[in-house]
């Protein structure tokens, strides 16, 4: 492997990184042409350039509900559906975020129940990207890679930097130059090689595809992408278990590259196939900001050719104009009976506030898109009164305070006197 980083001595390397003698990534199969590929840090089929997905042994023994429930509360309790033979060696405590009952949102949506799957408090980097990086970092270690990286709109940068630091791996992280300061600081603090690129995410992504080809790094969402994406399924698994081993009737999730929606559909199906839950796959709804909604527009057109867009939205975390999984996500939305919805920046800000004020969860812009999208879907008649809906909240609002700082009321500054507080109370309550 070629690296532009100084090489660690064998003793340094041994002391830095977890070992993975017993951890073996599964081989992969092309999602399009079915060609099987040996386990490797490669994400595209050498035959047709389609996406590779891990090939799970049909003979592997799957656990029952009781066995899963007795395991530690992390995403690895579902390890039989994650792409490795053997025990994971890093990032063992990611996952099992709260599923929060949200009756006031249910009332607003006109449905029976709403729950918030709250990955805003995901460990350690406060977004659902911890799930995918947990699988990718184990793949990197198993392949003997000493450097990982990513192209990111922010949350993934935070996650790769954090997980790599903990695992003792070097990291190279590439982000658009205009990301929110919380995302930048929340990456730099872990000590990665952080590089800001002039351009949009899609420019960064193109660059990283070329870098993976040149430097042999484990770029989690490029050449480790097949293993990386499987981590997203654990959000579906957790929803099913936390609901008491049953499925909601609908889920709403934000879309950037489209992978999460695709993997939610896959995860629900795998649990049905395993006999762990009954019933139909939930209707999957994907939401985007109107200023970058190529997947929703693909779903609206009903064809299979994604038309890329140049992003123009404050929802930078999902501002991907050329989403790699766009066609697959649209297919899941169609086949599940769900759909798509895009919302304005003003609506997503209102969505952030509504979630905070009704549920006590502060989400970032992508979460605002999810909530605002759910409201718009409800108004358009997509939900039934007996629906049980899960909103996937994928990131933490403290990372994007710029989105709401200008619209929140200023806190009054008063003297430390009871009478001043009393006056304020009278003003606010009219009593």
């Amino acid at each position: 492997m070629t690296s532009i980083l100084p090489e660690a001595s064998p003793s340094q390397a041994a002391s830095r990184a977890p070992t993975a003698a017993a951890l073996r990534p599964y081989s992969q199969r092309c999602k399009l042409c079915g060609t099987e590929n040996d386990a490797a840090p490669a994400a595209i089929c050498e035959n047709c350039l389609g996406p590779l997905e891990p090939l799970y042994p049909a003979s592997r023994r799957l656990p029952d509900r009781a066995t899963i429930a007795a395991r530690p509360q992390s995403m690895w309790r579902y390890r039989e559906w994650l792409p490795f033979e053997g025990e994971p060696v890093a990032s063992l405590d990611t996952g099992f975020s709260p599923l929060i009952d949200a009756p006031r949102l249910a009332e607003r949506l006109g449905v029976a129940r709403v729950w918030v799957k709250n990955d805003a408090v995901s460990h350690p980097s406060l977004s659902f990207k911890d799930r995918v990086v947990s699988t990718a970092i184990n793949a990197a270690i198993a392949f003997g890679l000493d450097t990982v990286g990513c192209a990111s709109t922010g949350n993934l940068a935070n996650a790769v930097a954090a997980h790599a630091a903990r695992a003792g791996l070097a990291s190279w992280i590439f982000i658009p130059e205009d990301l929110e300061i919380g995302k930048v600081i929340g990456t730099a603090v872990y000590g990665p090689n952080l590089v800001r690129i002039k351009g949009h995410y899609d420019d960064v992504n193109r660059l990283c595809a070329q870098l993976a080809d040149r430097f042999g790094w484990g770029i989690v969402n490029v050449n480790l992408r097949g293993y990386y994406g499987e981590g997203s399924k654990t959000m579906a698994f957790e929803i099913a278990e936390q609901l008491g081993w049953r499925l909601p009737s609908a889920v709403v999730a934000p879309m950037a590259g489209g992978s999460l929606v695709t993997k939610l559909g896959k995860g629900f199906k795998e649990f049905i196939d395993a006999g762990l839950v009954d019933g139909a796959t939930p209707r999957v709804y994907g939401t985007q900001a109107s200023g970058c909604a190529p997947i929703v527009r693909l779903w609206e057109r009903g064809d299979s050719t994604l038309v890329p867009e140049i992003p123009n939205t404050i929802a930078r975390s999902i501002a991907i104009g050329n989403p790699a999984d766009g066609a697959f996500a649209a297919k899941v939305m169609r086949e599940s009976g769900g759909g798509g919805q895009h919302v304005s920046d003003e609506a997503l800000v209102a969505g952030i506030r509504l979630l905070a004020e009704t549920t006590g969860v502060f989400t970032e812009t992508a979460g605002g898109v999810t909530v605002a999208g759910a409201l718009a879907l409800a108004e358009a008649g997509h939900f039934r009164s007996d629906d049980e809906v899960v909103l996937c909240i994928t990131g933490n609002g403290l990372k994007t305070t710029e989105a709401v700082s200008d619209v929140l009321p200023a806190a009054p500054v008063i003297a430390p006197k009871v009478r001043d507080v009393a006056a304020l109370v009278a003003e606010r309550t009219g009593s």
Binding site: R206, V222, A256, S259
Partner: protein, 90 residues
């Protein structure tokens, strides 16, 4: 116009290397020239209708050609056309 076409590793093995010199007045003509010389590579550059193969993206001097006319985009002497696998990111 003389244009250099750069291939990713996964496609370079279907040609003589990663950088191929070509000619043409448009991106489509440059690609057609390469496709004619490397028949095994051709189906990974263009689909059966002659449009860009859906699992690669073409960048003319680092700009996605889909924002500039696709295969109809004109090229200039010394331009660089880069082929990148489409499945990445997110």
């Amino acid at each position: 116009m003389a244009v250099t076409l750069f291939l990713p590793t996964v496609l370079a093995k279907l040609a003589d290397g990663r950088a191929i010199e070509s000619t043409g007045e448009t991106v489509g003509a440059v690609v057609a020239n390469v496709a004619a010389r490397y028949p095994n590579l051709a189906p990974r550059l263009r689909d059966e209708t002659g449009q860009p193969y859906p699992f690669v993206t073409f960048y003319l001097n680092d700009e996605d050609i889909r924002f500039n006319g696709g295969f109809e985009a004109p090229v200039s002497d010394g331009d660089e056309l880069t082929v990148v696998p489409a499945i990445a990111g997110g």
